[in-house]
């Protein structure tokens, strides 16, 4: 940082190319960087730091009590558990979808490909009420499931269904480009060397796709943890049973329990940062692997 600061001050110096490294020869570096940093700080960094500062000012005992009360622990179990299972479901079906979209031809393929992105584009509240009305006892799907005694709306299964919906695009969109770029000659070579199709899949294709699959899984998991809009309608929000952690943050805020809300938020925030770190690590490792190959 220092090098670059001094470099800009001594722009007029003839010796700059020797002694100082300038950021570049084009104009507008400092205004652009200055505005970016200011805006980033005002909108994101300073408000986000409020969570950490609020936690620091609260007494540890108070914070611990807020973060480990039975309803909060129940909401963590539900949020982490349901997000994990939903991400697993999406890892499997997302992989199959990506495979079918890349390797096979069928009518309406472009439409199907576009539809994969719908959960990104459809506002979560709309998804929430649509899923709820599908799975209530008079709904199109709820009616079919009721005779078997399966209830989805207003149960934990409902939370899972909503989280599966919002996670659909992640695995598909992260696996799809890797499958497209995969060198098919390696597979042909394996086949011609006597491997059967299943062996080719487990030893050639799967290792190639694994980093992308893991990335997609982690992104779907992280998205599920924070999801609110599509879940609150179908969950029914019964205390200790179907309350997700983000909902509990809102409940605490409505009771003006800022410390309680912040404690839950901090745990969720740390979890998503760790996931983000994990995703970056996977991508960094697979990029190094690709460069080495």
């Amino acid at each position: 940082m220092e090098e670059c600061l001094t470099g800009s001050i001594s722009l007029e110096s003839e010796r700059r190319t020797v002694r100082f490294k300038r950021p570049g020869i084009l104009p507008g570096f400092w205004p652009a960087l200055g505005f970016s940093l200011l805006y980033l700080s005002l909108i994101v960094l300073v408000p986000l730091s409020a969570i950490f500062l609020k936690t620091a000012t609260a007494s540890w005992a108070h914070f611990w009590a807020a973060a480990t009360s039975p309803p909060v622990l129940a909401s963590f179990r539900l949020s982490f558990g349901a997000s994990f299972i939903a991400a697993l479901v999406n890892a499997f079906f997302g992989f199959v979808l990506a495979w079918v979209l890349v390797r096979y031809r069928f009518p309406g393929k472009r439409l199907v490909d576009a539809l994969v992105d719908l959960p990104f584009a459809l506002p979560t509240a709309v998804a929430g009420i649509a899923l709820t009305s599908l799975y209530t006892e008079n709904g199109w799907l709820g009616r079919l499931l009721a005779p078997w005694g399966i209830r989805v709306a207003f149960t934990r299964l409902g939370v899972l269904v909503a989280l599966i919906f919002i996670g659909v695009p992640f695995v598909v969109r992260s696996v799809q480009p890797v499958l497209e770029d995969a060198d098919r000659e390696i597979e042909e070579a394996a086949l011609s060397l006597g491997a059967n199709r299943w062996q080719v899949f487990t030893w050639v294709v799967f290792p190639l796709v694994r980093p992308a699959l893991l990335t997609g899984f982690a992104m779907a998991f992280a998205r599920g943890l924070g999801e609110y809009g599509s879940v609150v309608f179908i969950a029914g929000n019964m205390p200790m049973r179907t309350e997700i952690a983000p909902l509990l943050i809102i409940t605490k805020l409505e009771q003006y329990d800022y410390t309680g809300a912040t404690a839950i938020a901090l745990v969720m925030l740390v979890a998503s940062f760790l996931l983000l770190l994990g995703i970056n690590l996977i991508q960094w490792r697979s990029r190094r692997f690709a460069e080495a190959a």
Partner: protein, 283 residues
């Protein structure tokens, strides 16, 4: 790819059929069916109920507020995206990768937490709460809070579209213009902007769609005052919770149409965006 040739892509027919059927059933059940439900439920009580629900004063107020918040968020985040992309892609400086990572940060934050942080800063018990109270300025449970929350959740969209494309373009063209005597703004408007116009539009579309549909973050800071601090998704929630299902789905169908338009625009633009990344040969 030629049909008939024995290659790994030509899996045996049962495998092909089985996988295709699995994938399509999953997508139909979890994605297509909810979308269809929205439109069926919206029109369940006929067109007249539909139109009434959409033209009701509270619905119109919600639409106006959503458009206002979206407009401000898209404008600010586009300016930021252009500035950040200019700094990050046209110059070398230490800490660049940290900056790129920080830009994506809002994507890792739950929308509810995005709302919470502004309550902690501007709420009655927040950092600036007492000062704002004395000066009679309301941010939380008022329009500024809704705008801030919308800006936060859509923060990375434009920047993250622009950065890879401007990176791929390099700085040669701008440097050539500089050598030929062009000024900074001249270079930006005549060279950089035309090169990245499709990526910019792509980012703006994604940003708009997310801004109009945001629910969690806005829900925390809104206060749900009808006709005043209700955005379209919040209006849908209120109607739904009042068991006014037909009206809720009617208003929701507007957002669903918006999502479909977004998807279509995305498809159309994807080819153009790829053009942004490659050098166009001189005519």
């Amino acid at each position: 790819m030629s049909p008939g040739r024995r290659s790994p892509g030509n899996d045996p027919a049962p495998v092909r059929w089985g996988l295709t059927l699995t994938a399509l059933s999953f997508l139909a059940l979890f994605v297509a069916l909810p979308l269809i439900t929205v439109f069926v439920q919206a029109l369940a009580k006929g067109w007249s109920t539909y139109w009434t629900a959409i033209r009701e004063p509270d619905a119109l107020a919600a639409i106006r507020l959503t458009l206002l918040a979206t407009g401000i968020a898209v404008l600010l985040n586009s300016l930021f995206g252009l500035a950040a992309a200019w700094a990050v892609t046209k110059f070398q400086f230490p800490g660049k990768n940290v900056l790129i990572t920080l830009i994506d940060l809002p994507f890792a934050v739950s929308p509810v937490i995005a709302g919470l942080i502004y309550v902690l800063v501007f709420g009655t018990q927040g950092w600036f709460g007492p000062w704002l109270g004395q000066h009679n300025v309301r941010i939380i449970f008022a329009v500024p809070g809704i705008v801030l929350a919308t800006v936060f959740v859509t923060f990375p969209f434009v920047a993250r579209e622009l950065i890879p494309h401007m990176q791929a373009r390099g700085t040669d063209e701008e440097e050539a213009a500089l050598v030929l005597g062009a000024g900074g703004w001249h270079i930006f408007f005549r060279i950089t902007l035309p090169n990245i116009k499709w990526s910019l539009l792509y980012g703006v579309i994604l940003c708009t769609a997310r801004a109009m549909g945001e629910f969690g973050a806005v829900s925390v800071v809104s206060g749900h005052i009808r006709g005043e601090t209700n955005t379209v998704p919040l209006h849908v929630e209120i109607l739904y919770n009042e068991y006014n299902f037909a009206a809720a789905f009617a208003v929701a169908s507007l957002l669903a149409v918006l999502a479909l338009v977004t998807l279509a625009a995305k498809r159309l633009l994807e080819g153009k965006v790829r053009q942004d990344a490659v050098e166009v040969p001189e005519a």
